[in-house]
Symmetry: C2
């Protein structure tokens, strides 16, 4: 949850005057997103989300993120659509930060997804991957295999403060994944952070995808691997095979997986688990005193990683063809 | 800012099924209110605020607060109106906490009120005081003069950690105020926490009052004293006499002040400054590590208190008749 930046009445009035949205009816900071400050904005023209980009977002990446949302929305994906200001721009400045207004999406994120939710997600993710085609900008995934070791080295000496022996296990995992990481799988635009928080439902139907601030170009199946970790484990970190099968099979119906992708799922899932273990470990060890965000438990992903180590094929995720 | 309590999908579905509000379209935790968890709820029936009452609110007081809002809304005050559930109740339970749904009010709180805002506030506060008449429940003000010394005694030994000599000054102030506190001024229902956060504007017009969780029976003019402190000082803690005059004069137009009330304003303002100094001091000294709320600076109110000590009459606030 986060509202890191507040703005003065005057700055806000100046900013909003640049848009053709009528009078402002309310602005409420919302407890959503850990990277940026988000406000729910109601105007005579409707409801919107106003985002102020905080320091963890690289300003040079914003045209990619916002342009991608516009591209995807134009291709029928229900994602936030950036609003152009009177100058034709989708990126402005407020309170000395980059800021943008996007359309508001109805829906609720599921705190405890069921198999039906996982199937809806699988379909929507496949549609997202297909719709990304033709987007003119590219952004490498800074949090793929090449980025993990440098990230770990910023906090390796303290990993064992979290769990004895954790540092050594991570090094072994890095050695293995760097040697074995699959190359040349089908790739394109992926969301890379499709956690339940970022997926909305109305009733049982998926109603929208949000938070494209980790989107990048990478292996499509890596996005499946991320969601497998984020959606298909129970609270005790055991895999729910019914959910995993629902997710992968629904994806496969829309964008049929190649046999190479299917074969690579276990190692991709292992890599995805390590990626979130590492970023959570970093956050855990570097969270400043008095921070507004409670860091998430890195060991959740350590347990998931250990699970994937023993997986031999996608059949262990319930998926066979 | 605060969302202290999250609820499961199932608990929320059960709770909302008790209301006749149609399908839920979104629920977003909002970064507003430091005492409770607040969600902006959109349903087919409109927009609402869902509040989960956390431990700082006494459950026995909730019928007073919610009943008061209903009473005031019925008298034409634009405040949140509690929604009755199918059982006819305005108070339910969610995630093991008392919970209520109230109507959503449009408007923006002013981060830097101008004199025009102060005049609007003065009028609305006078209307609120008049509209409270006839409300059937009563609630003593636990944070009036009798409550200050016991509150101070919970943290007196550490007051000097905040400012050398602060403890001694507070004791002298308590001695003086307990002896001199005015009795028998006109009284009734007061809001007791009309800070700018709790007052909404659309353009220059006041559009609503929220957050009645400190409302109580007390001297009307004490409410004026609270707002004089909260609205009429500049960032450097100097009084803006134009704003103070606007506030008091606008109030006086709707509910003419008695000469006893006018004479008592300086001591009431001094008491109100001490009240917020003490609660902020308590919060400052007792905030737990890792808290989601950054405590407010108690010394802001120490400076205001020192100002009021040198005030000799309401004329120093710009108000003469």
């Amino acid at each position: 949850m986060a509202v890191y930046t507040e703005f003065t009445d005057e700055d806000f009035a100046d900013f909003i005057a640049g848009y053709d949205l009528g009078a402002v009816l309310s602005v409420k900071g919302i407890a959503e997103g850990v990277e940026n400050s988000n406000y729910l904005l109601a105007t005579e023209a409707g409801q919107f989300i106003l985002t102020l980009y905080e320091k963890r977002v690289e300003p040079a990446d914003l045209p990619f993120f916002l342009g991608l949302m516009e591209h995807l929305a134009g291709r029928g994906i229900t994602c936030p659509l950036p609003v152009h200001n009177r100058g034709g721009n989708i990126l402005g400045r407020l309170a000395d930060r980059p800021a943008a207004i996007v359309t508001f999406l109805q829906g609720l994120s599921s705190r405890r997804p069921r198999a039906g939710h996982c199937a809806e997600l699988g379909r929507a993710m496949a549609e997202l991957h297909l719709a990304g085609e033709g987007f003119g900008l590219a952004r490498p995934n800074a949090l793929s295999v090449e980025g993990w070791r440098p990230l770990f080295e910023t906090c390796d000496t303290r990993a064992d403060d979290v769990l004895k022996g954790l540092g050594e296990q991570i090094v072994a995992e890095l050695d293995f994944l760097e040697k074995s990481w699959p190359q040349d799988l089908p790739s394109g635009i992926i969301h890379a952070d499709l956690f339940p928080d970022n997926v909305f439902f109305l009733g049982d139907r998926l109603s929208g995808l949000i938070d494209f601030y980790f989107a990048c170009n990478d292996t499509f199946a890596y996005d499946i691997a991320i969601t497998l970790n984020a959606w298909c484990f129970e609270a005790d970190c055991s895999l729910n095979v019914t959910k995993a099968r629902a997710l992968i099979a629904a994806y496969d119906e829309i964008r049929p997986l190649t046999s190479a992708e299917i074969a690579a799922l276990p190692i991709l899932a292992r890599g995805a688990a390590l990626r979130f273990l590492l970023t959570r470990l970093f956050d855990w060890l570097t969270v400043p005193a008095g921070a507004l965000v409670v860091p998430k438990d890195p060991l959740e992903y350590y347990k998931k990683l250990r699970f994937h180590r023993h997986v031999t094929s996608a059949g262990d995720y319930g998926f066979t063809r």
